[in-house]
Each structure stands twice: as C-alpha cells, then as structure tokens.
C-alpha cells in the first residue's frame, strides 16, 4: 500500500463521546491512554474535535437529547471514519434498555463498525476494537 494509505491505518485519531454512559466505560476508555495501556503505541491520539478525529468511540445509551449531539459530531468527522460502540450500553442500551428516556444503543442513531461488549468493556477489549476497526478500514482502503 502507498504511504498515504498506510498512514491512514497508522494514525487513527480517536475521539471519545460520552453519550449517556455511567462513567464505567468512560474511565476504561480513558485508561487506554494511560501508561499501562498506552494506545499512543498505535499512533492513537485522543482528540477532542470531530474535525480531527478518525475513530469515534461512543460509550453509553442514547436518549433524544444526546442523539442530536451524536449525529452532529458524527457528521462533522471527515471520511473515512470508524465508530466503536463501547460497553453493553453502547451496543444495545444494556441494562438500561427499558428505562423511560433511553432509545437504545448507538446503532439506533449512527452506523457502528465495532461493538465492544462488557460492562464496562475492559481497556484490552477497547484496544481490540480499534485494531479490528483498523483491519476493516484496511480492507476498504485496499479495495479502493
């Protein structure tokens, strides 16, 4: 693959959005950045700005209010982009599926590329998800 394509896989900038999570998954996502897990090994930087992000990591359940935000930031990310739904909540609404102000998982609002089960998902699982997502991206890039 050309340098440009390789670099797309070697530099996944990540953005985390807490979409109504209980914080359990948030702190595990954050833990990925810290010395013991250090995802910067894969070139991952946690950016706060959708315009710079390649990978959107979403934790938590969707409610009508944050669904708008989620849609907005997703649409502000440049293509090609990956979405990772973290935790039972992000995947399906988890334990809160039946709560009155919960619409369900992230895929109710935006397309999800990788689902990470767990409550909370372990940092290792989140790293697996990024690797899986990049594999998917690589496939797309190679095909193009």
């Amino acid at each position: 693959m050309s340098f440009l394509k390789t670099s797309q896989i070697k530099s996944p900038w990540l953005m985390h959005f807490d979409c109504g999570s209980c914080n359990g998954c948030d702190i595990e996502t954050l833990a990925c950045l810290t010395p013991v897990y250090d995802v910067e090994r894969f070139g991952i930087i946690n950016v706060g700005n959708p315009r710079h992000a390649d990978v959107l990591v979403v934790t938590g359940t969707v409610n009508p209010r944050n669904a708008e935000i989620l849609k907005n930031i997703y649409s502000q990310m440049p293509d090609p982009k990956l979405v990772i739904a973290v935790g039972a909540c992000g995947c399906s609404g988890g334990v809160f599926r039946d709560a009155p102000n919960v619409l369900g998982g992230i895929d109710k609002v935006i397309p999800v590329d990788v689902y990470v089960p767990g409550c909370p998902a372990k940092p290792e699982a989140i790293m697996d998800a990024v690797v899986t997502g990049l594999g998917k991206l690589k496939g797309i890039l190679e095909a193009s």
Binding site: G93, G94, R97, G105, D107, Y115, C119, E124, A125, K136
Partner: protein
C-alpha cells in the same frame, strides 16, 4: 519543578506499558468475563432469565427441545445468572468476550432433561 524526579526516573526506567496485543497478561482467575453455558447440562428451568437484571436471557421450551438465548451485547456480566443456576451449567470465563463487527445473539438449543441429552452445536445467529 516538583515533578522533576518522577519524570527523570520514568525516562530511565522501563515503561509501565503492557504491550497488549503482543503480550497478554494471565487473567485473574476470579474475573467475570465471557458468559458460557454448558448446554448439555442445562435444564432450561429459566431461573437465570428471570433473575437477570439486564433481561438479556431468554429461555423457551418447545416440545422436547429447549432454547437458551443470550443477547450478549446487553449482558452486563454481573454473574447473577451464574449464581442462580440450579445445575451450575453457567459459568464465566476469566477473559473478556471478543469484540464483533455485527451484533449477534447467542442461541443454544438442547434437549429437555427428561430424555437423555443430545447435543446440538451452538449456533450464533445474526440478529
């Protein structure tokens, strides 16, 4: 300035990083990871599904066959079902379940206990 010694010692000591996918640490034996069902032993009593706080288990019986369905992506891994199973056929691996690119439900079927058990392969089906 106060952080200087820490920073310098970090620089000259080994990094705290576990090089994860290339180096995997042994899991803690007690860790509550992936939920598995030894379907041969399951009596499809439904106790697990009634107790599950996430309501992600569904146990149904039809004729001589029983079905045990787990919506894994809603399971919170609390282990309540494991504790409640009368025949201890449920258990949790110490490792986490692999990530997936599609959301799937685990469906397992087995014979109801009256007759001698015959196993059917676990068949994951897409939702």
């Amino acid at each position: 300035m106060k952080m200087l010694p820490t920073v310098i010692s970090n620089l000259f000591n080994k990094a705290a990083t576990r090089n994860y996918p290339f180096f995997v640490r042994d899991p803690f034996v007690t860790a509550r990871g992936e939920l598995i069902n030894d379907i041969d032993r399951c009596i499809f009593c439904g106790s697990c599904s009634r107790k599950c706080p996430s309501q992600c288990l569904e146990v149904t019986k039809e004729g001589t066959m029983g079905t045990w369905k787990l919506e894994f992506f809603a399971c919170v891994g609390c282990g309540v079902c494991v504790d409640s199973c009368p025949v201890n056929c449920l258990s949790q691996k110490p490792t986490h379940r692999a990530v997936a690119v599609v959301r799937e439900t685990i469906v397992m079927t087995g014979k109801l206990p009256e007759k001698p058990a015959k196993k059917t392969a676990a068949a994951p089906a897409e939702q």
